[in-house]
């Protein structure tokens, strides 16, 4: 029998992170290794074989899974591929900057390992461990900026993080008490309908809300995104969205057969709608480009949340596809924010007239804005259309609200575009200097967003394996 290399997807980045941590003296070596690593990361999702992987070879005994299990299929492969792509692009962009290079690479790789473990894992406690690792990594990535504000944002994030993590573990404890198992596929069969299970599900939702940044945790997340450098924010929002997708699917999978599931669904939908509305309203009021994008990211998470919370296969599919699209176009927009803030800070009112100096950046930013708003043929259009079509029969008022929110996102993104690129500039720019590699990454991401829209059928077919709950 051929060996299943599935755990390598998680173990390889962790090992490389440890090795790179030891090489902190040699900046050049770290740089070259990072270029090679970013290439390897893209091929990493292809090495595992599909199906279950049992650690320690314990396997299933008399119908009960013992030990930690991972599960892999085509849908998870697509998620991991997009994750690898964004992480690689961010790693390469980061190499153009002079700062603590090796710590950036180490933390990003640890984050990659954490997220891929969360996506692959079929074990609740394994998921919790990597959940905590990822929140530490996210705080660490923000600390790298080295400003006092970034320390504050990171500390605030960790303080709330320990509370949310502890409450989530309490939820897991309750599930163990009811079922005696940690394996998600087993729990689904053994869980009993009881008020205790309801409390457990609410505690898991607290963990979900914290890790993805839906209200009431949106402020700490926005602080985190806006205090980090642009390419780091791109990775951070990718991590949050993928955790949200993985965790919410697990919650729906575990509790979908129980009597209180409809009220759980209601809670998830309510949180998503609040997240959508809050994100958009606060983004319209914002005058800082990075914070605006951060709020916009929260509002797109609401779209994803509604799709997954409806818990019909097509709605979940649309939600996941929107998560993938929003990860791509939002990463691109954060990179454009990185280019722009390199010129004269992220405050929108200080900028203006940049289209004369960086016309191509403006063009590709506009393409990404089109994708974010939902203009055909970009990826964002396909996923928003699918979402609204699925929601319309059940909740027509929410579908209407979603269209309104899309108009709102057009307003704030075009406002940002106008103030940065088109508005008359108050004083001339002495020298326009920005990392070229960030520009190329922006181009690649906007083309990827276009490809996701044009070839959406292929990707949706592959993702469909994820939604058979």
């Amino acid at each position: 029998m051929a060996m299943n290399l599935l755990p390598v997807i998680v173990l390889f980045p962790i090992t490389m992170a440890l090795i790179l941590n030891l090489l902190h003296e040699n900046e050049k070596l770290v740089k070259y290794l990072t270029y090679i690593l970013s290439l390897i990361l893209i091929f990493l999702p292809f090495i595992g074989s599909f199906g279950y992987y049992y650690f320690g070879g314990h396997g299933v005994i008399n119908g009960y899974t013992t030990g930690i299990a991972y599960f892999y299929n085509v849908g998870k492969q697509v998620l991991l591929l997009i994750l690898s792509f964004i992480v690689s692009i961010s790693l390469i962009t980061g190499m153009g900057e002079k700062f603590k290079n090796n710590m950036f690479v180490v933390l990003t790789l640890m984050g990659y390992a954490g997220i891929s473990a969360i996506i692959l894992s079929d074990d609740l406690f394994n998921l919790y461990v990597f959940f905590e690792i990822v929140s530490m990594v996210q705080a660490g990535l923000v600390f790298l900026s080295g400003t006092e504000e970034s320390y504050k944002a990171g500390l605030r994030y960790l303080l709330i993080g320990v509370v949310a993590g502890s409450l989530m573990l309490l939820g897991i404890t309750i599930i163990i008490a009811i079922t005696g198992s940690l394996n998600i596929s087993d729990i689904k069969y053994y869980i009993l309908d009881s008020p205790l299970a309801y409390v457990g599900s609410i505690l898991l939702i607290i963990g979900l809300a914290y890790s993805s940044g839906i209200p009431p945790f949106h402020n700490i997340k926005v602080d985190l995104y806006s205090r980090a450098k642009g390419f780091i924010s791109a990775v951070l929002q990718t991590y949050s969205k993928f955790i949200f997708v993985a965790l919410s699917i697990i919650i729906i999978k575990i509790f979908s057969g129980l009597s209180f599931f409809s009220s759980l669904k209601g809670i998830l939908i309510a949180l998503s709608v609040i997240s959508m509305v809050f994100g958009t309203v606060l983004a319209i009021l914002e005058d800082d480009y990075k914070r605006l994008l951060a709020y916009s990211s929260i509002s797109h998470l609401g779209f994803v949340g509604i799709g997954i919370a409806l818990s019909s296969p097509l709605a979940i599919l649309a939600g996941i596809f929107h998560a993938i699209n929003s990860v791509v176009f939002k990463s691109g927009l954060f990179l454009s924010a990185y280019i722009v803030s390199n010129i004269r800070g992220p405050k929108l009112l200080n900028l203006g007239g940049l289209i004369k100096y960086i016309p191509f950046t403006a063009f590709f930013t506009l393409l990404l804005i089109f994708s974010a708003v939902g203009v055909p043929p970009f990826g964002g259009y396909v996923s928003k259309l699918l979402l609204i079509r699925e929601i319309m029969p059940q909740f027509p008022e929410i579908a209407g609200l979603m269209i309104l929110i899309s108009v709102g996102s057009f307003v704030y993104l075009m406002k940002a575009f106008y103030l940065i690129f088109l508005a008359p500039n108050k004083e001339d720019y002495n020298d326009i200097r920005y990392p070229k590699v960030a520009y190329y990454s922006l181009v690649i991401l906007s083309l990827l967003s276009l490809i996701l829209g044009i070839f959406s059928n292929i990707i949706l077919n592959k993702l469909f394996t994820l939604v058979k709950i």
Binding site: I61, N62, Y64, T66, F125, V129, E132, I133, M136, A139, G140, F143, E148, E149, Y151, K152, G154, L155, R156, L158, L159, G161, V162, V163, G165, S166, L169, L170, T173, I176, A177, T179, G180, S181, L182, D186, Y190, D223
Partner: protein, 118 residues
Amino acid sequence: MIVMDFQTASFLTAGILIVIGLYGVFFVDNIIKKIIALEILGSGVNLTLISICYNKYIPIKLPNMVNFAQYSAYPLTQALVLTNIVIEASMLAIMLGVSIILYKKYKTLKCSVILKED
């Protein structure tokens, strides 16, 4: 006199610890005290994990080990607690480190000063 069995008593203790921890995190202004409260909260959760395995509260899902299941506590949660202690320690260490940096800057440990949003 109220007579309580051991498991109920430890659940009660865990509940009290969790409430004290949550109170400390949200209503105490000192950053070090907040971190200590987090530790208390974590201990409460760990105690809950330990207590559910005592006295065969959980169904042990291993039919070929009936003998083992009859005479022992559920071993899984104890392994989980060990892991959780390590995770918690590392989280708290990072937070204490950052608190030192912020203390050097502001010369105070009050959260209302050092974590104030601008």
